[in-house]
């Protein structure tokens, strides 16, 4: 058989591509549920770590258990800080808003607030909010845990897609970096309300931490991500504070 003819070549390549596409589509459909379960457990684990719960080494199932045990309620808010709808927190139907990229577009004014900004409130009164932005090579994101007073940071956890190993990746890998956040205060009403300062935060400044040496762009990106998202959440926290004072 002539394997070099035009007809043969076209039929052969078409068949190969169709078969390959079929296999890939089947694999993607089949594997999607377990991939999403992994992503969900990871998101939950990062939120819990921001709120200073130890989740390292836990299986996916125990991460969900731990979350269901600690969470009080979760809901999404709109741009004015008003609650839009609840998110389920029951163990078997935990709802998260984990597509932070879409929310980030909304905050930047590139789309509506339809999906809303998530707020997770734990039984101990701590509120967890996410943040998302651009690092040096790819997105950086994380979770801030805020004490019931609405301005003191209990803890934080950050992650990234492709920051430089050993430098920018320290936002995730270096516990000393995220420990700096513990006990700091968000200066609501100020611009910026929180700062990551290259060369070190001045002593006594309550809303600032030290940037990472050798990772200026990652630090700047994270600083911008935190401030953009804090600004979006400001109406909510201001409203909470006013209600409490009354």
């Amino acid at each position: 058989m002539n394997t070099n003819g035009n007809i043969y070549t076209i039929v052969y390549t078409t068949l190969i591509v169709v078969v390959v596409a079929g296999i890939l589509a089947a694999a993607a459909t089949f594997l999607k549920p377990s991939q999403q379960a992994n992503i969900k457990a990871e998101t939950i684990s990062q939120m819990l770590q921001a709120a200073q719960f130890e989740t390292a080494g836990l299986s996916n199932a125990s991460k969900l258990d731990k979350y269901a045990e600690e969470i009080e309620c979760a809901f999404v808010i709109d741009a004015s800080g008003a609650k839009v709808r609840d998110l389920s927190v029951s163990r078997d139907n935990i709802q998260l808003i984990d597509n932070l990229k879409a929310q980030n577009y909304a905050i930047a004014g590139k789309g509506g607030y339809e999906t809303g900004l998530p707020v997770y409130i734990l039984k101990n009164g701590v509120t967890i909010i996410p943040c998302y932005g651009a690092g040096l090579w790819g997105p950086v994101w994380g979770y801030l845990a805020i004490e019931p007073d609405g301005c003191t940071i209990k803890g934080a956890y950050f992650d990234h897609e492709s920051e430089t190993a050993g430098l920018g990746s320290r936002i995730k890998d270096d516990p000393a970096f995220r420990t700096q956040f513990c006990g700091k205060k968000i200066a609501w009403g100020q611009k910026p309300s929180f700062e990551i300062i290259k060369g070190g935060a001045p002593e006594g400044q309550e809303n600032a931490i030290d940037a990472i040496t050798g990772a200026t762009m990652t630090s700047r990106g994270l600083d911008a991500a935190i401030n953009t998202w804090l600004a979006a959440y400001e109406p909510y926290f201001t409203a909470v504070k006013t209600t409490e004072e009354e």
Partner: protein, 201 residues
């Protein structure tokens, strides 16, 4: 060549990294931790093995003019499958995330296409499978040796467990890619001193 030789040559005398100097880019990128290197080594072994097997089975029907494209389609299929499977298993999910683009970049690993062109298209399926697996293992072996030193001195850990005494100051040079090149250079040096037949006159 006997099957035994087919298997042993890529491990030592024809090692893809130390002798053929292929797959260097990824061996610099993924050897920061042992876990990452191990997953990468297994993934590449699966891809080289299966792509050699599949293309050896197809070798008589592939139109010569689109040979490379057909090879690429098969390799890409296998790499995407490996990536998807790693993402769906609880244990490998965090490692896949850490390796990020490098799993996808197995497609561009010269070892894969090199072995298809040089071996699978001219040999029967079983020897091709063995050749592919052995090349993946030969690559993985070097990866693991490099990762052992980089994780030990760069992070003071092995497989994520602390082994260096408390207070060990981690070495940032070891974490950065240039050090992997230095280590691979040393391995090539040792390999060539031990096996005189590899030395150029």
């Amino acid at each position: 060549m006997t099957l035994k030789e087919t298997f042993l040559t890529p491990l030592f005398k024809g090692n893809p990294i130390t002798v053929l100097v292929l797959g260097i880019c990824s061996s610099l990128a993924v050897t920061v931790t042992l876990k990452g290197a191990l997953v990468m080594a297994l993934s590449v072994t699966v891809v080289t093995g299966l792509s050699n097997l599949v293309l050896s089975l197809l070798r008589k029907g592939i139109p010569n003019r689109v040979r490379i494209i057909v090879q690429l389609v098969v390799v890409a299929l296998l790499v995407i499958l490996v990536d998807q499977i790693l993402k769906s298993i609880e244990v490998t999910f965090p490692i896949d995330k850490q390796l990020s683009v490098y799993i996808g970049l197995i497609i561009t690993n010269c070892i894969v296409m090199g072995r298809i062109e040089a071996f699978a298209l001219g040999n029967k399926p079983i020897p091709s499978l063995i050749d592919g697996l052995a090349n993946g293992l030969g690559y993985g072996m070097i990866l693991i040796v490099v990762a052992f030193f980089r994780e030990l001195f760069g992070s003071g850990t092995l497989f994520g467990l602390q082994v260096m005494p408390a207070g060990y100051v981690t070495n940032n040079l070891v974490i950065l890619p240039p050090f992997a090149l230095i280590l691979i250079g040393c391995i090539i040096w040792i390999h060539r001193s031990a096996d005189k037949s590899l030395q150029e006159k």
